[in-house]
C-alpha cells in the first residue's frame, strides 16, 4: 500500500482535485504527518492544507486514521500513552508541536466537539462561561454574561435555555446538549473547531439543527468534521478528504468527491463497495 507508485498516484490525485481553490488561504497546514501507537503506525505521510473559514470533512472506514489525524490538530493525542506524532502541523504558520507551545492555549484556539455530548455536570451557564473565565476573556460578570448569551445564540440554543440557565446542562436533550457543547467550544473564540462525529448520537432533527449551525459557523471559524455519514459530509462540507489504511487517499471539492472521485478507492468506499 505504501510503495512509491501509489504515493505518486496519490499526489497526482491531490493536485488534480485541488486546482479549484489555489487562492484559498490555508489555516492549518500538515506536512508528512506520521503517527504511531507504539509499534503500530496509524498514519502515513499525511500532508494537507485546511482552508480557513470553510468546512472540511474527513471520511473513511473505521480505523482509517481520520480521527487520529483530527486529534493531532489540537494535540489530543498527547494524552494517549505510547502515541508518537512525527512531521509538522502548523496553525497560521506556528508549529503546534514546538516545545515552547502552550498546549492549553492551543486548545483554546482549536476547540473540539465530541461524538457523545459531554456537558460538564454543572449549570448551562457554567458550561459556557467556564472556558472564557479560565482563559481570562471576560472582565467581570456583565462581559461574561454577554459571552454566554452570544455563544448560546450562535449555537442556536439561546431561545430554548434562556429561562433556565442555572439548570444542569446534563438535563437537556441530546441535541440540545450537543449544541451546548458547541456553545462551550465557541465561547473561547477559537479559530478552528474540530468535530468528531458530532451527530452520530442524535436524531435527524437534532442532526439537521447541528448541520445548519455548522453552515452558519463557517463564516467565522475553520471547521473540520469527521463523519461516517457520507450524506452529512456531502451536505455540510466544502472540501472532503478520504482516508484509507492511514493514508490520505484523496482530497477535493466535496461536489467532485461525491460525483466524480479521482481515486478508485474513494469511489468504492462512497458507493458502498468496500468490505
Amino acid at each position: 500500500m505504501n510503495d512509491a507508485s501509489m504515493s505518486a498516484e496519490m499526489t497526482a490525485n491531490l493536485s488534480k482535485s485541488l486546482d479549484f481553490d489555489q487562492a484559498a488561504k490555508p489555516k492549518v497546514v500538515a506536512k508528512d504527518v506520521n503517527v504511531f501507537y507504539g509499534e503500530k503506525q496509524a498514519l502515513f505521510d499525511v500532508s494537507i492544507d485546511i482552508v480557513e473559514k470553510s468546512v472540511t470533512a474527513f471520511i473513511g472506514p473505521s480505523g482509517c486514521g481520520k480521527s487520529t489525524f483530527l486529534r493531532c490538530i489540537n494535540r489530543m493525542n498527547d494524552t494517549i500513552e505510547g502515541c508518537v506524532v512525527k512531521g509538522g502541523i502548523s496553525l497560521d504558520g506556528d508549529d503546534i508541536y514546538a516545545p515552547s507551545l502552550d498546549v492549553v492555549e492551543l486548545r483554546a484556539r482549536v476547540g473540539m466537539v465530541f461524538q457523545k455530548p459531554n456537558p460538564f455536570p454543572k449549570s448551562i451557564y457554567e458550561n459556557v462561561s467556564y472556558g472564557p473565565r479560565i482563559h481570562g476573556l471576560a472582565r467581570g460578570k456583565t462581559e461574561l454574561d454577554e459571552i454566554v448569551e452570544s455563544s448560546l445564540k450562535r449555537a442556536g440554543l439561546w431561545e430554548e435555555v434562556k429561562d433556565r440557565l442555572n439548570e444542569p446542562g446534563t438535563g437537556l436533550s441530546g441535541g440540545q446538549q450537543q449544541r451546548l457543547c458547541i456553545a462551550r467550544a465557541i465561547a473561547v473564540s477559537p479559530e478552528v473547531i474540530l468535530m468528531d462525529e458530532p451527530c452520530s448520537a442524535l436524531d435527524p432533527i437534532a442532526t439537521a439543527r447541528i448541520e445548519e449551525l455548522i453552515d452558519e459557523l463557517r463564516a467565522n471559524f475553520t471547521i473540520i468534521i469527521v463523519t461516517h455519514s457520507m450524506q452529512q459530509a456531502a451536505r455540510v462540507s466544502q472540501r472532503t478528504a478520504f482516508f484509507h489504511l492511514g493514508i490520505l487517499v484523496e482530497l477535493g471539492a466535496t461536489e467532485q468527491i461525491f460525483t466524480n472521485p479521482s481515486d478508485k478507492r474513494t469511489q468504492d468506499y462512497i458507493t458502498g463497495r468496500f468490505g
Binding site: M230, F258, T259, P261, Q267, T271, G272
Partner: protein, 242 residues
Amino acid sequence: MATNEHIVTSFDDELNGLAQKIAEMGGIAEQQVGESVAALSRRDEALAQRVISSDKRMDQLQREIEDDATHMIARRQPMAQDLREIVAAIHIANDLERVGDLAKNTAKRVFAIEGNFAAQRLVGGVEHISEMSLAQLKHILDAYTSRDLDSALAVWKRDDEIDAMYTSLFRELLTYMMEDPRNITFCTHLLFCAKNIERIGDHATNIAETIHYLVTGIPLTDERPKKDESSVTTVEYSDADD
C-alpha cells in the same frame, strides 16, 4: 457497469434492473423506427398500427424507470458512479421515449397519406435518412451497453451527416411540390416524417452526451457540428411564364 459489486447486493440488482429496462426500451425504439419507415414506404397500415401500439410499452417502461430511479435515490442515496448511472438512466429513458413518439408520429402519417398515389421515388430519400438514423440509434445503444466512450463520441460527431441529408431532402421535397401541386399533401407528410427521423438522430446525440457524463463524470459542453440548414433554406420558384 462498475466491475466490482456493492456490499448490499440488492442495490446491484436494482441497478441491473434499470439497465435492463433501458435495453428493452432501446430494442423497442429500434424496431419502431425501422417498422415506421417500412410501413411508410409500403403503405402498410397493419405494420403502422403495430408501431403505434408498441408505444404504450415505451411509455410504461419510461415511467417504471423514473419510479425505480426515484426510489433508488431516496433509499440508497447513491454517490459517484452509482449516482451517474441513475441520472443517466432517467435521461436516456426520456430520450428513448421521445424516439418512440417520433416513430409513432411517422406511423400515423401512413394513414393520412392513404390514397395518395405519388411516385414511390419520393419515399426513397426518407428511407435513406432513416437508415442513417437507425444506425446511429443502434450504435449509441451498443455504446451505452458497453460504456464505450469512443463510439459514443463517434455517434455524436456523425450526426451532422443526418442534418446535411435532411437539408437536401428538404430541398428535394420542395422541388417536387413545385413541380406538381398534387404532390403537396404527400410531400408535406414526408417532410414531417423526415423531420421526425432527423430528430431521432438528435436524441442519439443526446444519449451520447449522457454516456460521456456517465463514463467521465464531466458534462460534454462542446458545440456539436450542425448541418441542418433547412430553417434557412429556400427554393426559388423558377416558372417564369406565370
